[in-house]
Structures are given as C-alpha cells and as structure tokens.
C-alpha cells in the first residue's frame, strides 16, 4: 500500500484525501455483529446436523464432519438456487461467506450463472472461478505444512 501511495502524483493524493471525506464508511461494528450472529447460527445448524448423524447413523464424532459438510453444501445449493443466499450475503457479509456454505455458494452460484454458456465451457469451466483460489491456497499451504512436519518428524526434531 505504501509503495502505491508513492507512485501517485501530488494531485492524485490531494484528490484522494478529498474523496475520502465523502466516501461512505463501512459500518464495521454493525457488520461484525451481523457476521457474528449469522456465522454462529450457521455453525449451530452444523452442530445440530452432526448430532443428527451421530445419533441416527453410523458416524462417530471424528468422521461426522463429512456428511455434515455435504449436507450444509446441499442446503447452500437450495438457498443459492432460490435466490436467498445472495440476500443473506449482503446482510451477513463474512457471516455467510466464511462457513463452508459460503464455499458451496461460491461454486454453485458460478455454476448456475454460466449455464448459459453450456455445460462444458460454461458450468465446467467457470465452476471454480471463485472457489478455485481457496482450493489452491488450501492445498498448497497444507502441502507445505505437512511437508515440514513430516521432514521434522523424520529428522527426529518433533
């Protein structure tokens, strides 16, 4: 950010100061409270679903995550398809984007949106245009972390 500032002419900097004055501020505190509530509630729903699977199906606490996540993504598909999730997202911000339902929403909304370009080039090609970076950085950082841990383990440090 600092280097960006330096590249600007004094005129640009002066204007940006003036513009800042008029810029509508994001209601950070209000947004955080909304994100907390909605995000928390989504997790509570997730918890309820996982207890449901523990109780009625053959899942232990350790592996109940898989069906829970799949169910949450399914719910996210319904909400996305009926046009509810984008409204929820405008209200809750990170509260609906950070839970796995937000990941599902990113994939599903892109898939639905690009249906008009066909199933191969449209849906197939664009499905991960938003969520792809999450997978990329998740996988790569996990690779690095696991590699370091394994190597340290092999050398007997850990």
């Amino acid at each position: 950010m600092a280097s960006k500032q330096k590249n600007m002419t004094p005129q640009q900097q002066k204007y940006q100061q003036l513009q800042q004055k008029h810029e509508l501020k994001r209601p950070v505190l209000k947004n955080c409270i909304k994100a907390f509530w909605v995000g928390g509630l989504i997790c509570v729903v997730g918890q309820a679903i996982s207890y449901f699977y523990i109780y009625f199906f053959h899942f232990t606490e350790q592996n109940v995550g898989n069906p829970t996540v799949a169910t949450m993504v399914f719910l996210s598909m319904l909400l996305t398809g009926f046009g509810v999730y984008d409204r929820l997202g405008q209200f809750a911000g990170a509260g609906s984007a950070v839970p796995v339902t937000g990941f599902g929403n990113a994939v599903i909304s892109a898939a639905i949106e690009h249906r008009t370009e066909g199933f191969v080039l449209g849906v197939g090609g664009n499905m991960f245009k938003l969520a792809g970076s999450v997978i990329l950085f998740g996988v790569f950082s996990a690779f690095v972390v696991a590699l370091i841990k394994t190597l340290l383990g092999m050398w007997g440090v850990l």
Binding site: L18, E23, G89
Partner: protein
Amino acid sequence: MLKGHQSWVFNNRPMISATGVSGGPFEANGNLANDFDILHEDLWMGMDSYEKAQRVLLEEAVRTTLAKAKMEKEQIEFLFAGDLINQITPTSFAARTMQIPYFGLFGACSTSMEGLALASFVVNYQGARNVLTGASSHNAATEKQFRYPTEYGGQKPPTAQWTVTGAGVGLITQNVPGEHQPVTTSATIGRVIDMGLSDPFNMGGAMAPAAADTIMAHFRDMELDPSHYDLILTGDLGRIGQDTTFELLIKSGLKIERKLFQDCGLLLYKDDQPVQAGGSGAGCSATVLYGHILNQMKKGLYKRILVVATGALLSPLSFQQKESIPCIAHAVAIEMNEEGR
C-alpha cells in the same frame, strides 16, 4: 462549430424529436417508473440469457422511438449506440436486427452522451437527417461480467452502485422551427482522467474528477456561467461521486446551486431500494434523460440543462491487474426549442 478547446456548438440546433425507454423489474419499482415506455416484470425479458435480454431492451427502445416518431427504420441513416458488455455485443446484435448503419461506441457509462454529442454533430452538419442514439445496460449481465455471479453472497460495501437494467434511445433530427421539442445546443468532449483510485466498488469516487474536469471545461469553452442552466445533471456518480464533484466545482470557483445539481443514479430509485450509493451503468443516464428529464422539460420545468455522463473505463481484467480506474465524462447541453418562430 468548434468552440474553445474541446467543445462543439450546434448552430442548427438538432432536435431530439422522439425517445424510447425500456426498463426491468427493479426500475418498475423505482421512482421514475411512469417515465418508462416499456417495463418488464421478468429480468430475463423472456430470453435465455441476460445478454440477450439486454439486446431486447435496446431493440424495444428503438422500436418505441420509431413508433412515436411514426418512422420506419429505413428512414434512419445512422445508429450511434453502445454498452459495456463483452465488446458491446448486445448493441451490435441489436443493430444486426435493425439493419441501420451503425457506429458502435464504447464510453462505458458515458456512452449515452458520447452518442448524443456525435449524433448531434452529424445532424448539425447535414451528415444525416435522422439519427438514432442510445445506450443500454443490464444489471445481471454487468454483475456477471464485472463482479460476481448474481447468486453469489458477496457483501457490497455502501460505496457500491447498482447497475440499471434499461435502455434509452433518442431520435435526433433536423430542427423543425416552432416544434415543442428539446434540442441540443452544444457539447463538450471530456479527457480521460485518472486520480489513481482502484476500488471497483467505488466508481463514483473514481469518476468525480472526470465529471468536474468536463464541467469546468464546458463553462470555460462556452464562456458561460453555471446560472445559464436550470439543471446540471450528472450520469451515474451516485452519492459519493456527486458530493465530491460538487466540492471540486465549488473549489474551482464555479457558483452552482446544490439543488440544481442532480444525478441520474440518485433520481431513478427509491430510498428503500438496496442500491447502496445509487444507480449506475450505461443505461442509467440514457433512461433518466430520455425518459424523465425530457418529459419534465416538455412540461416546462427546465428550459436549459447540461447533462454530464461519466464513464469508468475499466475492464474486469484491468482491475485484477491492479490498474487504477481511468474515467471520462462527456457533456451535452439541451434546451427547449424556441416556440412560435
């Protein structure tokens, strides 16, 4: 006739003899629904893609204009139009349907005034008798291309703007003295101004300096005072951009009354519609000018107005490559034709 550095004066006073305006469901719930000729309940306009829907909007606006003017499309010499989707394909495809000789324009949201200025210039110098000019935009098509999928639950900050679903078209003809119609009298073509802003969710702030630059150039070139106009109307600056532009103009010494300085993007929607900082898009200035504002002029509310449409010349690629947002603004002065001459 060139006047000053970057302005044209249209001595023959080309006339906006008919207009056509179409809009989508969100506009139907807005403030100016009565000034639209055609309003759609369905965001898809019965088509199977949003891009096709935008094409339909423009085609309908053209057809309405022709119907009002009682003209056939063969009588139109040229079409000056544009939009901001994928190499302006919605407009070009609509032009394919209409078979009118066609200039495709790209000036982002300033396209409407770029088209009106050029059309007026051509008509003024007898380059044509009848010219159509217009612009269109579609909310979902624009979101899809420039932002996120429409169903994606991203949170828009309060600085974001809502792209208008709609098309506005005007028919520019030779002046018929005495006819009660608006005429164009001058135009100022803007420079590309870049103040280094790069937030695509704050277009108003990025476009404000371009608007201010063009407005100042207009008054300098035309040797006029702001009091010459009853209304100075900006295209889609929204709340932030408009306030900023106003401050820039006041600082430069122009005396403008705040309430005579309005913005299409703020007129179009009701306060309770979730448009954040206001409406935007190529269709914003086109629908509001060719619909609401010209209707009001004909009713006698305004005699002389200056319309300044601003455009942000970015692409989805350029902002991902961390480029700042260059902006442009074009101004056209519109008056009511003098009566009984």
